[in-house]
Chain length 140, copies 3
Amino acid sequence: MNLSTRNRISGTVSRLDIGEVMASVTVRLRGGQEMTAAVTRESVEELGLAEGSPVQVLVKSTEVALATGSVDGLSIRNRLPGTVTAVSPGAVMTSVKVAVPGATLTAVVTGDAVTDLGITVGSPVTALVKATEVSLASMR
Amino acid sequence: MNLSTRNRISGTVSRLDIGEVMASVTVRLRGGQEMTAAVTRESVEELGLAEGSPVQVLVKSTEVALATGSVDGLSIRNRLPGTVTAVSPGAVMTSVKVAVPGATLTAVVTGDAVTDLGITVGSPVTALVKATEVSLASMR
Amino acid sequence: MNLSTRNRISGTVSRLDIGEVMASVTVRLRGGQEMTAAVTRESVEELGLAEGSPVQVLVKSTEVALATGSVDGLSIRNRLPGTVTAVSPGAVMTSVKVAVPGATLTAVVTGDAVTDLGITVGSPVTALVKATEVSLASMR
């Protein structure tokens, strides 16, 4: 199976909080960062996830936002600092590649946002992903 | 690879519109409905998608909304009419299973919405998914 | 902090419902409307949110859908009526600006949707955002 999902980062489950419907799964990435996925309890059970399980974190590129500067005070759980390596503008949306430790992410944001933030190759940015936008793949 | 993504429906690519950054991929599902995915142009190229390609449509359950009435006049491209087969309430979010032709979908919506709309087992509903929330897996 | 996220509206937390994993945060916007964010419980705790907390509601433009007719019977919690002020078409996706009381929103939807709904400058529309797509920034 090949996925259209641009962002796939390998890691290991480091924490699991299980609610009635939703579960929060924290994953330590191979680059040392942590990401949190809010997925259904059902999916955690079906994938047999536990602390130590190897997983891939999956994030669609349209779900990645970018910040320049400090990112304090945000509800957004996942914040991966990195450096812009490519900017490919379209008429409405622009694709931005961000090198983070251990991975390269793709963010698709509006061209307006890229202009407003002055994002170019070499810009330091933080990639932001809401926990509800993160899916997981188990590697069994 | 096993996915946390609850909604996976098999189909065949019926139309492709390729832009500079984004591409719109229309998929005819095995149940006869059509769904549209707005994915990156890059992913279409990498998956080698063309008309006739067998794919799976992937949608995270938190990305599925529900409608109990008419869905005319909505920009949301993907509308799958079906019947509620299960309602599992949590403290904040509620999981709703919807049988549509050829598949069963999972929608995670707020408990408030389920109460307001009076959704129970047997309710006719339309599952709604924005095209930007749809991912694709190629089955090669 | 500068965010690529196009939609940022100031408001005040008016209600909090905390579950085991997720929390529902209702925010009264300065324009008088209310919006609901489904975020992780952890983020509510980390931001120290309480009734009365000043926050910014953040929504990525790809997460905003548009409706031209009635929005009754939708599970989508956030519905902001307004008027289209600009339409910028790309090859696949189109950016639509919507003036709502107290803010201007950006929605990125498929060009097909804009054509089907006949959306032009001056069209009355309702901007729709699923609660799971709303992030929060604390203004402390």
